[in-house]
């Protein structure tokens, strides 16, 4: 992984407008593998499977260092797309090219074992995100300082308050950085002080000119203040892609019309 990072760093300096992420005609359907039982297979043999088209051919390219906000109403495929880009889902059609970048989905407390101490969980979670033991060891202190949960770092995670749990989890994902970061809903964790700290850290992460970020959020203020470009998804279709001040007003209008229509 280290070698890969070096390689991307060297290519970074060569051209400024390097494409970090390409999504081409991305289709994702929920079907095929459906929960069933052995008996049901006999009775339902040959019946058609239900399909839900979550993404219907979304294509876009993202330059390195850009911050993309993704908006859309509930169920429009935002999270599905992030997870597909992170490699958790496979596309049913189309492809996703990361151009050799490392990627991580900022999510809370992946792979934690609640009976183990916070410190041990840093390693467990970090290794799961694809970092080596040495890389984590080098950043362990920084993570512990950032999480700021005192002596609890040496106690089992099950003794943590929910705030402490999220603080540690956020610290792990925020300090172990990757080239592309995917953020699903802005993380508002911990007390007011930590919230500010994590917001600042996020800004710091985002402001690194080599880092590409994708944010899914329902808070249009957050999107407006953090992002360069906005991608608007509606029912799995790409509605608009463009600068914040162009797309957001249209999106707001659309949502307002929808609520009016419902009334």
């Amino acid at each position: 992984m280290r070698a890969m990072k070096k390689k991307t760093e060297s290519t970074k300096s060569e051209s400024k407008k390097r494409i970090a992420l390409t999504v081409q005609d991305l289709h994702i359907t929920y079907r095929g593998l459906k929960k069933t039982s052995i008996r049901a297979i006999w009775t339902k043999l040959g019946s058609r499977v239900e399909r839900f088209h979550a993404l219907k051919g979304v294509s876009f390219e993202l330059e390195e260092g850009k911050i993309l906000g993704i908006v859309g109403k509930n169920g429009s495929g935002k999270s599905t797309m992030l997870r597909a880009i992170a490699g958790i889902f496979s596309p049913d059609k189309g492809f996703i090219d990361l151009h050799g970048n490392t990627i991580s989905l900022l999510s809370i407390g992946v792979g934690f074992n609640k009976k183990l101490t916070g410190k041990e969980n840093i390693y467990l979670s970090g290794m799961l995100l694809g970092f080596s033991e040495e890389e984590i060891r080098a950043k362990e202190k920084e993570i512990i300082t950032f999480a700021d949960i005192g002596d609890f770092i040496d106690r089992p995670v099950k003794t943590y308050s929910s705030g402490m749990y999220s603080k540690l989890a956020f610290a792990i994902t925020a300090i172990l950085e990757t080239d592309i970061i995917l953020i699903d809903e802005v993380l508002s964790v911990g007390d007011a002080q930590f919230k500010e700290k994590s917001y600042n850290k996020m800004k710091e992460l985002i402001s690194d000119e080599h880092r590409t970020v994708l944010i899914v959020s329902h808070s249009l203020d957050t999107i407006a203040s953090l992002c360069d470009i906005v991608l608007w998804l509606n029912d799995g279709d790409l509605m608009e892609l463009g600068p914040v001040d162009e797309v957001l007003p249209k999106y707001k209008e659309f949502m307002a019309n929808m609520t009016n229509a419902k009334k």
Binding site: K34, K35, G109, L128, L129, S132, E133
Partner: protein, 262 residues
């Protein structure tokens, strides 16, 4: 296959770390908990030895060691099969949030079971000394037998893991299957001696059922100072490798869809 080797290289450290973490968490509540890893297999051995040795009067030589060897191989197989069926679902948090080759989960689980089997092997040594079983170089031949057992179990485990994602009641079916295999494998009886009058039946029981086969071979090298059957081992190794290849293929093809189902 290339992808498999690459993934194993990339993630085996995680698998080991996570296996260690799981074992640690088992003893985390009290430091005496690891004693159960010793007490449990030992007690089962005592129970079976009493019932099938004394109550059903069995004159098998070194009967306690005989039962214990069977149990140790059986427990490994049993845990792996039971564990693999619900493996993806019980790791829902992980599977829906991060990409990890799914057989790494099984690999990690298998390490914890191997560790427990190792403990059982360590109990076996004093037991064999107590029973006066002669120690010979034949015992080293247990290594290829364990390798065959591992590969076979891993292959079956991967396939069951895949179907366990979509089939809710696969667990019930495997439970029945496991019970059957348990009694047919001769954990507490000698298949050849018990079925002396039905040689064809014992012939097939020992050859069709890989667990019975592995148990029998293990007993040969540990208790009877005999060579294991090379052709038998090779055949089951081949079958095991084919099952692994099928499992790897099925998982590579489907693993990215698991997150959609669970």
């Amino acid at each position: 296959m290339k992808k498999f080797i690459y993934n194993i290289k990339k993630y085996y450290k995680y698998a080991i770390y996570s296996a260690k973490a799981e074992l640690k968490s088992e003893v985390a509540d009290s430091y005496l908990n690891w004693l159960w890893w010793v007490i449990e297999p030992f007690s089962f051995m005592l129970i079976y030895t009493f019932i099938f040795g004394t109550v059903f009067s069995n004159d098998e030589k070194y009967f306690a060691s005989f039962v214990f060897l069977g149990l140790l191989a059986w427990e490994f197989f049993n845990r792996m099969i039971n564990g693999s069926v619900k493996l993806i679902i019980s790791n829902r948090d992980l599977v829906t949030k991060v990409y990890i080759p799914k057989y790494i989960l099984l690999l990690s689980k298998s390490f914890t079971y191997l560790f427990k089997m190792g403990i059982s092997l360590m109990i076996l040594v004093p037991l064999m000394i107590y029973q006066g079983v002669p120690f010979t170089w034949y015992m080293l031949l247990c290594i290829p037998i364990f390798i065959v057992l591992y590969i076979l179990t891993f292959g079956i485990g991967m396939i069951l893991m895949h179907f366990g994602v979509t089939l809710n009641d696969l667990g019930n079916l495997t439970n029945i299957g496991l019970k059957m295999v348990f009694y047919l494998s001769g954990v507490f009886y000698n298949i050849q001696k018990r079925l002396k009058k039905k040689p064809t039946l014992s012939f097939y029981l020992l050859r069709v059922n890989p667990i019975a086969f592995c148990m029998n071979e293990l007993r040969k090298v540990f208790l009877y100072q005999k060579l294991p059957s090379v052709e038998g081992l090779l055949v089951w190794l081949g079958i095991g490798l084919v099952l692994c290849a099928i499992g790897i293929h099925v998982i590579h093809k489907n693993e990215n869809s698991y997150a959609k189902v669970i």
